[in-house]
């Protein structure tokens, strides 16, 4: 339609407003075209057995928290078992009340994804295996999984003081893997955004797209272009099935389960226990001070609340493993100190010795139980043991079972005298 022939001229509208009207008309037709095309693609994709995504899998597994940095997204009740959380953001199918009603022993296990158990069935996580180990020894026990992806000791401190103590556990197990043992030193300059914890605030448009993607394949592809690439890459038709087993459904970057792990068969390079410990470089002193300081704050907080603490040092094949396997381990925090020690292996052994020593010292000073894993760490390799997955960090179900038994034995040794006293005395803990 040309402007000169527009009936608007006869209506007396100036040229600028005629252009606005024509632009609106154009946009309307464009909108209709995009909608019709989208619907066509949607129907075609459905016919090719494509399904929209479950958005809970695409959302961040964590949400910001003002004391612990971040916590697990609560109430994730759909999707594979490894992402399930209850209403309090604990990796558990059960809803957990704050008061441990009807239980003789409530234990909280804190740590990173090593405690959470990514890629692991719930029943195989360290918390539920510990619960079974304690129950097998005659305790009416309940063990809560406070593991959160990416946590270090600074997060654990906030979680402990703000939340864990509210659950009134009688004991807390701190799983100190390498990542946890390097407490962060966040920038002290205040910022308005909390995106430093890798949790991203979606824009309004991104939010709509994310919400819509659970109902539409087209929106799924717009939200996650990798899914479109996957769909295009797979041939012949049907492109892909949506069924996922729990063992397949691993978090991105999560360890393979032992069944999936490609185990190295060459054990020729296995090293014996080192006779000489590497000397601590100057930077290690500052790292020790940082670790001891935060660990002491956590243990002291629990001690004053009358809660027993079990400290579990790093667990893994860190002495006898082959160089090629060591290179594949997720140990970036050790690689940072490689230059200080002269080699990655020396750094690993040196830092492990330092961290274990710091944990033992704090444990002794503040009456915490410290698990001794030194012997098992020295003997373990991926080839000779099925305790650790190929990332060298996350235990396998068998590894979790081993740890759970060790923790249960130590804890019961510590608690039994007190338990007998409580059973002998009249019950006065009614508050």
């Amino acid at each position: 339609m040309s402007v000169s022939s527009s009936p608007l001229r006869s209506q007396g509208l100036p040229l600028a407003w005629q252009l606005v009207a024509q632009l609106s008309q154009f946009l309307w037709w464009a909108f209709l075209f995009v909608t019709a095309t989208g619907l066509f693609i949607e129907v075609a994709a459905r016919l090719l057995r494509q399904k929209p995504q479950t958005i809970v899998e695409t959302l961040s597994a964590t949400v910001p928290d003002p004391y612990a940095g971040w916590q697990l997204r609560p109430s994730v009740q759909t999707g594979p078992e490894w992402i399930i959380t209850n209403s309090r953001g604990l990796h558990d199918l059960r809803e957990i009340p704050l008061k441990p009603d009807g239980k003789d022993l409530r234990v909280a296990v804190q740590g990173s994804s090593v405690v959470y158990g990514p890629g692991t069935n719930l029943k195989d996580t360290v918390s539920l295996q510990l619960e079974r180990a304690l129950t097998n020894q005659g305790m009416n026990a309940e063990v809560l999984n406070f593991g959160v992806h990416g946590y270090n000791l600074l997060n654990v401190l906030g979680q402990a003081a703000a939340y864990t103590v509210q659950y009134e556990p009688r004991a807390v197990v701190l799983m100190l893997d390498f990542q946890v043992s390097y407490p962060a030193e966040p920038s002290p300059a205040p910022v308005m955004s909390l995106e430093s914890s890798a949790v991203k605030q979606l824009s309004t448009l991104e939010g709509w797209l994310k919400r819509g993607s659970q109902h539409s394949v087209v929106l799924t592809w717009l939200d996650s272009p990798s899914r479109l690439r996957q769909a295009l890459a797979v041939a012949p038709l049907p492109l892909k099935t949506s069924g996922k087993s729990i063992s397949d459904a691993r978090e991105p970057g999560a360890p393979a389960t032992p069944h999936e792990a490609a185990r190295p068969k060459n054990t020729a390079a296995v090293r014996a226990s080192p006779d000489v410990r590497p000397a601590s470089p100057p930077g290690a002193v500052a790292r020790s001070r940082r670790l001891r300081s935060i660990l002491a704050a956590i243990v002291a907080t629990y001690r004053e609340a009358g809660i027993a603490v079990v400290l579990v040092p790093p667990f893994g094949p860190y002495y006898a493993e082959t160089d090629s396997n060591l290179a594949r381990f997720s140990l970036a925090m050790i690689a940072n100190h490689q230059q200080e020690y002269g080699s990655f292996r020396l750094a690993l052994e040196g830092e492990l010795a330092r961290i274990t020593g710091d944990i033992q010292e704090i444990g002794a000073r503040y009456d915490a139980i410290v698990l001794n894993l030194d012997d098992v760490n020295r003997q373990m390799t991926l080839a000779t043991s099925d305790y650790i997955s190929s990332d060298g960090i996350h235990p396998t179900p068998a590894g979790y079972r081993f740890l759970a038994r060790q923790i249960a034995d130590s804890l019961l040794d510590h608690l039994r005298p007190a338990q007998q006293k409580v059973l002998a005395a009249p019950n006065n803990s009614e508050l």
Partner: protein
């Protein structure tokens, strides 16, 4: 062209005319207000004083360099005009003072705040000292624990002073349900229009009024009353309300003792639950310092809590104690009972973790008057003279700790 497109064109025309009209009216109003002596308000009044923090709950908004002196903060959010560095200068004794708005110095000039008075007193004794103000509005010991673990140790302090007021001694127990929407104190996520008004507020009186209606009300009342300057040193009503609101909001959920049961047998159990919480969190703070070799000094609550009349006491901002009145048989009894409990808890924990304690109980018993000696009317925040007195109690303890550290060669 169909009729509907003609209407769209006319609607767009109307929209433009309306925007132009509003703009001209706004400019006219702005001109009137400027002639009447009004000025745009600084960001310290319009924006929240605090920003969310992932470890200590919240921190002071950094880089507030304009507006009233009470709002000034430096690059790290400290209430100071000087910017600080993480590295401590050699030969300088660095002391950090942690606490709530009592340490921040809510109603006084920068030179009169507690950290500044301690710094001046140390310098007067020949010590090259730098005292950092880590006071944050509304903080309790839980916030202080997060602040200690995440930030204060990075500043390599030679000593830490933890000033406990009554609010600090009730570490909150936040709701243990994660939320995707971060809600901290009175920090609020602004809508687009609210944000636009706030951003424009420092430049236009009209936008200042739109951004902060409560301030606008106050100023309108004042404008109607008189056409002179506002009273020097008058307390900013919104700031006082803000701090109060913050303390109310951040409680999150009731403490164990706030249930409405007042059976006598439960009194000691409830007090012991509060004691356990206080001891637990304070132990965390002191253990963190003890392990890094930083001497800590804990100051027990300081305030006119014994010798003032009931009428004066009723004016104090002591809402934390109200729930315990039925437990103790009266508000005054609850105040005295809780103060005694807190002081005993603090002493017990400090002894265990090698910290020094400055017990203010004897001083508290002597303070009287309305407003009480050394205090503002809220009974919580000391006056400049009160800060000066408090500094005079803290400085000898700091000098002792410095001497002891020098003897140990650390």
């Amino acid at each position: 062209m169909p009729l509907v497109w003609q209407w769209i064109g006319k609607l767009a025309q109307l929209g433009c005319v309306t925007v132009a009209l509003l703009f001209v009216s706004g400019l006219f109003l702005e001109g009137l207000l400027r002639v009447a002596g009004q000025k745009p308000w600084g960001p310290g009044l319009v924006l929240s004083d605090i920003v969310p923090d992932p470890y200590s709950g919240w921190q002071m908004r950094p880089n507030v360099q304009t507006g009233r002196e009470q709002s000034i903060t430096n690059n790290f959010g400290f209430h100071s005009r000087r910017d600080y560095s993480l590295e401590r200068a050699s030969q300088v004794e660095r002391v950090i003072v942690q606490g709530s708005s009592v340490v921040y110095g809510l109603h006084c000039a920068l030179e009169e705040t507690l950290p500044r008075q301690i710094e001046k007193a140390l310098q007067a004794r020949g010590v090259s000292a730098e005292v950092l103000n880590f006071g944050v509005h509304g903080h309790s010991l839980l916030n202080t624990l997060g602040q200690t673990g995440a930030y204060t140790l990075q500043f390599q302090p030679g000593a830490a002073v933890i000033v406990l007021d009554i609010q600090m001694c009730y570490p909150e127990e936040p709701i243990p349900v994660p939320s995707a929407q971060l809600s901290v104190g009175t920090v609020k996520q602004l809508s687009l229009s609210e944000a636009a008004a706030k951003l424009g507020a420092p430049y236009f009186v009209v936008l200042s009024a739109l951004a902060s209606p409560s301030q606008a009300q106050e100023r309108l009342k004042w404008l109607l009353k008189q056409f002179g300057k506002p009273q020097e040193g008058a307390e900013n009503p919104s700031a006082a309300v803000h701090d109060q609101d913050l303390r109310n909001d951040t409680q999150g959920r009731p403490h164990l003792a706030e249930a409405d049961v007042a059976e006598p047998g439960l009194k000691s159990l409830r007090a012991s639950a509060r004691s356990r919480r206080l001891r637990s969190v304070l132990a965390g703070v002191l253990a963190a310092y003890a392990e890094t070799g930083v001497p800590a000094i804990v100051v027990t609550p300081f305030g006119p809590y014994y010798a003032v009349t009931d009428a004066t006491l009723a004016k104090f901002s002591l809402h934390h104690l109200t729930p315990f009145a039925s437990e103790y048989g009266g508000f005054r009894e609850a105040l005295h009972g809780e103060l005694a409990r807190m002081t005993a808890d603090v002493k017990a924990v400090a002894m265990q973790y090698g910290a020094a304690v400055i017990d203010m109980t004897a001083e508290n018993r002597k303070l009287r008057g309305d407003p009480p000696t050394y205090f503002s009317r809220d009974g919580i925040h000391p006056s400049p003279a009160g800060y000066s007195y408090l500094a005079s109690r803290i400085v000898p303890a700091l000098l002792d700790s410095m001497k002891s550290r020098r003897q140990k060669g650390t």
